[in-house]
Amino acid sequence: MSSLSTPYVEDRRGGLPRTLVWLALAAAIGVVLFTVLGRFNSEYAYLAAYGVLQYVVLATGWNILGGYAGYVNFGAAGFYALGVYGSVFLYKLFPDLPVPVMVLVAAGVGALFGLGMGYLTLRLRGVFFSIGTLALSVILHTVIVNWEFVGGARGAYIIRPEEAPVLGSYAAYLCLLMFVLAVIAVAIARTVQHSWLGRGLAAIRDDETAAECSGVASLKLKLAATSLSGAVLAMAGAPFPFFITYVDPATAFSLTVAVNTIAMPVIGGMATWIGPVVGAVLIGSLQQLATVTISSSANLLIVGLLLVVFTSIAPFGIMGLLSRRRRNVR
């Protein structure tokens, strides 16, 4: 029995030690990243790193549904804004609540919205789900614009605590938090990919009818994926109000977030957890450079063009180009 062709056997042999290796690797990356950032010691360095890490979380979260199950969520910015405004709401009620708690609340709310969205549309063909997610995002936007308690159209100011719990500066602390969220998001995506849930979703993506006839409870699995994906997407937005200290609906429901969240997994490769990470790091870093050097609308144009080009000529993204067999990277 060749272990290359039987990934499940490979997994079983890996088990706990592999996970430990994986966590050690994540910790090592974290140490290197924050040492380098510490050297720069500028707000801008943290700002840039936060932006890229945030996209790692968003792209990874989106991919749990979009990549694994093949259901395109156009409402990523809506889920993200759910996290952003969840924090604004909690801040207005309990200003002293620690940010990680807000992240947890956002995850719960995101999961519930994902579930509701799924119930509404997942019985229909996949494209209705996509349009439904767009609908949800616009309706949420309208609600927020009209909701005075969280600032309405004018936006809301957040005064962040003087002291950060760790790392001295608050920007550095939030950057670290986002790094931890990225590790959690990737861990979730990786676990799903290797579990029975991931295999069921892969079957649904390849052929939903054949999957049903093979005993895959497609609706249940899709709802699980929608909830998990919604939770991760919302989680990514929760620290944001504290990061920029002022949010309005236009920032929270940002077009850039909506486009990037889809473009990054598509460009990186959607079949495995690593594709969105690669896409987010590459495109995210590129954009941090481009925003400084060119304009932000040119930025969007580039991402749009990349999306058109990659869907046309490289359907399995960068990872697909790198590996002959598209599901090689595990």
């Binding site: 616009v138 473009a263 969007l300």
Partner: protein, 289 residues
Amino acid sequence: MSMELFGNALLSGLLLGGFYAAVAVGITIAFGMLDIVNIAHPAFIMLGAFVAYWLNVEYGLDPLLAALIAAPFAYLLGRGLYRYYNGVFERRSDDSLQGLAFFFGLLFVVEVSLLLVFGVDYRFVSAPYIGPSLTLGDYSVPYRMLVPFLAGLGVVALIALYLGRTFTGRAILAVSQDPGALRLVGGNPIKIKEAAFGLSIATAMLAGALLVIIQPIEPSMGREFIGRAFAICVLGGMTSLLGTVVAGAILGIAEAMTTTYVGAAWGPAVSFGLLLVTLAVRPSGIFGR
């Protein structure tokens, strides 16, 4: 609540509905009949609006005339786009997800291109019927609403005639019901779909001209029409042209009532709310089987 306020809202909603039918008819063709989820359709509407604006400002052409001149080019653009889409996505086995992402990318490419060329300022056209109103008893009907209403209904009526009376039109209807059926009688479904998609993009050009008559335009406005176009298409039963007109009127009235009685800020949620309710309650739409 006064009767007059209600009557005005109803009237302006109805007028808006005729324009919305023109906005959605392209989606009814592309999405309903051809099963192509052209989420970039509203971007092509904006393209049409800016072409009409440009021809109006540069050459003093009437926006409607400008749209008629631009429509054949849009038709060819649509044919080319379909040929590309078919070659790259429809022939590939796992096309649906990638095709959707492709159109999503295209939406932003067109929108940002318009933004880079025309900027973010609101642009408007001049025509003799923009400004004056027709007075009917207590109600006054601005011609800038009446003209798009009539033109919108005209476009849909012409398409209905085309689909019902011409060979290609009937072939499009046949393809929409069963792609295999046409092959049996010797037609080429790809060519037929190509013609239909060209028609769909041509309607976007006309809808764009109607839009710039109704109100000043800026590039990102297109996104507001994603929800409207798909809500109308789904509510109208996906493939029905009559359904498109009726659903357009329903949405127009719903939006006008919301603006009048709830507040303009809630406007964007109306179409998408209607869409979600339709999907949840009756996904086959009011005219669906």
